[in-house]
């Protein structure tokens, strides 16, 4: 599929997503009850409804929303009277930071585990790594987060449990978020390493007398890295989505947490802006991954 066609598909996906999110958030209830005082008289309620444009038919509201969204205007947050997109974008760096840190953590775990498992194939280490990875994949990331808080913050008091104060606040949330992909990534590294270690290329290096260590960590790993790197894009996208719950637990001031709060507060503009942004990033990441797949392995490119 050509790049243009892929982009078009991506665009259609995002558009479709916008319709879905728009409709659903409108159906989630009347925001006015939450914005106004309990004893607000009917004329105040009407005024506010008109002011927010909530009295228009749904289609009109959607078209207006879409029109403005294309120019980057998602309206003002009902709750904070500030531009909704601004509120989301302000918090995007925090989410990206968290996703990157989580990714870094998962790679830092997966690569050594994967390589060593491949090198010592069949050994106790290999089996241990497999079990460890399997167990890790069975733990929900928010539970991992809670356990980390319990252990490192409450019991040992080593690391901060909440907020985004210093670099050390990043540690626990990154581990919680990056935990899940470690298993799959380990397997990828391991299998790629196994393939490479068996190849002529490496055999020749061995015949030439290169030390095993160099062979493994310098040459073999480079080749094994390729499938891992291509998958990183997918995982980055997944982290963006998975960050929602982790952000809530760690009070991490990111997009996910903001959207969760906005959903509960029926703050449509913010929900729309947040989910749309995440979707766009999601689609872009997947597009990039698809592209890199076809670049790296021409066999995968399909017409």
């Amino acid at each position: 599929m050509s790049i243009a066609k892929r982009l078009l598909h991506g665009l259609v996906s995002i558009l479709g997503a916008s319709v879905i999110i728009f409709l659903i958030s409108r159906l989630s209830g009347d925001p006015l009850a939450l914005l106004l005082p309990a004893d607000a008289p009917p004329d105040v309620i009407e005024q506010t409804r008109q002011h927010l444009g909530l009295d228009q038919p749904l289609v009109a509201q959607y078209l207006k929303f879409l029109g403005h969204a294309l120019t980057g205007d998602f309206g003002n947050s009902y709750r904070w009277q500030e531009p909704a997109l601004g509120l989301i974008l302000d918090r995007l760096p925090a989410t990206v930071e968290l996703a990157l840190a989580a990714l870094a953590f998962s790679i830092a775990m997966a690569v050594p585990f994967g390589v060593l498992s491949a090198v010592h194939r069949g050994s106790w280490f290999d089996r241990f790594a497999k079990v460890f990875a399997m167990v890790g994949q069975a733990m929900p990331n928010f539970w991992v987060g809670l356990l980390l808080i319990l252990f490192f913050a409450v019991q040992l008091n080593w690391l901060p449990a909440f907020g985004r104060e210093s670099w050390s606040s990043l540690v626990l949330p990154a581990i919680a978020l990056g935990w899940y992909p470690v298993a799959a990534q380990t397997r990828i590294v391991r299998s790629a390493m196994l393939d490479v270690l068996d190849s002529d290329y490496i055999r020749m290096g061995r015949a030439m007398g290169l030390p095993e260590r160099v062979l493994v960590w310098k040459y073999a790993l480079r080749n094994a890295a390729i499938p891992l790197v291509t998958i990183l894009g997918v995982y980055f996208a997944a982290m963006l989505g998975g960050a929602f719950v982790v952000e809530v637990i760690f009070a991490w001031p990111g997009v996910g947490r903001t959207v969760v709060e906005a959903v509960f507060a029926r703050d449509f503009p913010v929900v729309q802006a947040g989910v749309m942004l995440t979707s766009v990033l999601f689609v872009l990441s997947n597009l990039l991954v698809d592209l890199s797949y076809s670049l790296i392995d021409p066999r995968i490119r399909h017409g």
Binding site: P140, F142, P181, S191, L194, F244
Partner: protein
Amino acid sequence: MADLTAAKTASAADSAIAGAPLRRRGAIAWGTLPWFALLVFPVLIVCALGGELLLPHDPNALDLGIAFLPPAWLDGGNWAYPLGTDNMGRDLLTRIMAGTRISLVVALYAILISGGIGTAAGMLAGYFGGRLDALIMRLVDIQMSIPSLALALVLAAVLGPGFETVVLVIVITYWTWYARIVRGEVMSLKQRDYVALARVAGCGTPTIFRRHLLPNLLNTLLVLATLQVGQVIIFEASLSFLGLGIQQPDVSWGLMLADARNYITNAWWAITMPGLAIMATCLASNLLGDWLRDRFDPKRRQL
């Protein structure tokens, strides 16, 4: 989604790791049986079917006087409450057992319905191709471009929390798994001789679906369904944790974790025990699913 693509590459690796023994079709290699899963699943099913009869206490019975009892083997514990009590004096073991039922029922409904819809969609897309295929795949793409938790959040906010909503949300999120994989399988099955023959013989499409396609899909579906149990349970736990899933007086492990979060400093067991239940269930499902997949055909790249 990330898990799918990762799973694609991982399973290829896995099959390499699984080793020779399984290649002998029909022979059972006792050493590789998923013992853990075979132990855990019956326990879960018994808990689920046993219902109230098996519960040591009433899962919702409050007794403020015995709040925060630690597990029985610790100081201050009481063997009448083996895993301790929560902040309202409710027995944790009872609640975990009660939660088993809900979790498995949710999983059952969700898997059956999403599997049904996804399989149907996949079969239609794969068999007929063309416009129908494009339409269905477009839907899948649109759906997958919205991070699943974000979609779930917004949906749950609209529909209100509860059992039905959780099932619906999971169905909407997971049908795409089945659709994609079944589509791929059907596309390759379509080429087989017996299908062509059946068509020539004048078999109607429904018959072909029923007699020729479906039986060949069963293995795949079984593996998918088993793997999905763990996923679904984690997803439901995440939703309940955020407050949009299972509600009182029903008990859910995710809900228990959400409650326990507030008094994490007072009762570490309230956080740990329900999470262990989730982990055990998910691990069992993964192990069983992997074993089934390897057993049916280790060469399967689709998964």
